[in-house]
């Protein structure tokens, strides 16, 4: 079994008002050194695959379901390998 973490967030060009709001709240905490906050979500997917098969599966799951390419983008990394 392999556990993969897929990170989904808005594309760089898309305005992220939630991130802006959180940045303002961080500033209210006194952390003026924070210059940007981008919000995203991640999915931990456990699957019985490795190598090319794994890469292909993750790509298809992300492309077809987890990501809306009109506004979002993704990266992933392997957390645990059996």
């Amino acid at each position: 079994m392999t556990k993969v973490r897929i990170f989904v967030s808005y594309k760089q060009s898309v305005f992220d008002p939630q991130g802006e709001t959180i940045k303002d709240a961080i500033h209210a905490l006194g952390h003026d050194e924070v210059t940007a906050v981008q919000v995203g979500k991640f999915f931990d997917v456990t699957l019985d695959a490795a190598g090319d098969k794994l890469t292909a599966a993750v790509k298809e799951i992300a492309d077809q379901l987890l990501v809306n390419f009109n506004m979002e983008t993704y990266t992933y990394r392997v957390l645990e390998e059996a």
């Binding site: 808005y10 898309v14 008002p17 506004m71």
Partner: protein, 226 residues
């Protein structure tokens, strides 16, 4: 004209669409479950508002994997009228029947109120009974209604007159180009965040949405030619 109102798990404005067509317009309308695979015998299909699959993942993202979706896409490709309001609009973009996407409102909140819109294009099967640039008031009720598309898509939408409704005074959600509703290039698929089906009786505050349904019904069963 026989119209299908699709019921997805979590649809909740299905009754609003149904009653607007049935009680107010005396149209021939039927609920169709998402389990069904065919829309044979229907001349138009409508996707209601609500929270299909709880808006989990993204609003409208999961509904597109239901049994009924290929039949909706088929109708769209045949040039038959396909209409989605609110969550229905979100589903149409997620399914690729309309360009762009609906993001979380800029204010990060669900917003329910009646707001002014401008009818930008009155040459669609859905808007023929409106005047061009007419101001109407329709309710909105959504948390994810901020229309987003890249610049190229926006340019195309404007050039092809695909923007049908725009927010006229205030932009309640941060939509680009104040977009409230768009059609596909062929003009037979309309998606909009406001709820015309909630504005068909003066008793409930506004009847400005009525002409959208009347436009469509007056059109009979004619297809929109490519």
């Amino acid at each position: 004209m026989r119209i299908a109102v699709v019921v997805f798990p979590g649809s909740n404005c299905d009754i609003d669409l149904y009653e607007a067509l049935h009680s107010v317009c005396q149209a021939d309308v039927e609920y169709v479950s998402h389990h069904e695979k065919s829309l044979a015998g229907f001349d138009a299909v409508m996707l209601p508002g609500g929270f299909s699959y709880g808006d989990y993942l993204r609003a409208g993202a999961i509904a597109r994997f239901t049994n009924i979706m290929p039949a909706i896409i088929k109708m769209a490709n045949e040039g038959k009228p396909v209409f989605g309001t609110c969550n229905g609009f979100q589903i149409l973009t997620e399914a690729g029947l309309l360009p762009g996407a609906l993001k979380r409102n800029d204010c990060q909140r669900f917003v329910c109120k009646t707001i002014p819109l401008e009818v930008v294009n009155n040459e669609t099967v859905f808007t023929r009974q409106y005047q061009k640039h007419e101001r109407i008031a329709l309710p909105i009720a959504h948390a994810d209604g901020s229309y987003y598309a890249d610049q190229k898509t926006l340019d195309q939408l404007e050039e092809n007159h695909q923007v049908v409704f725009r927010y006229a005074e205030e932009n309640p959600n941060g939509s680009l180009h104040n977009i409230a509703g768009i059609v596909n290039e062929r003009g037979n698929v309309l998606g909009m965040m406001p709820h015309p089906e909630r504005a068909v009786e003066a008793l409930l505050g506004s009847s400005d949405g009525l002409r959208l349904f009347k436009s469509l019904l007056a059109n009979g069963t004619a297809k929109v030619e490519a």
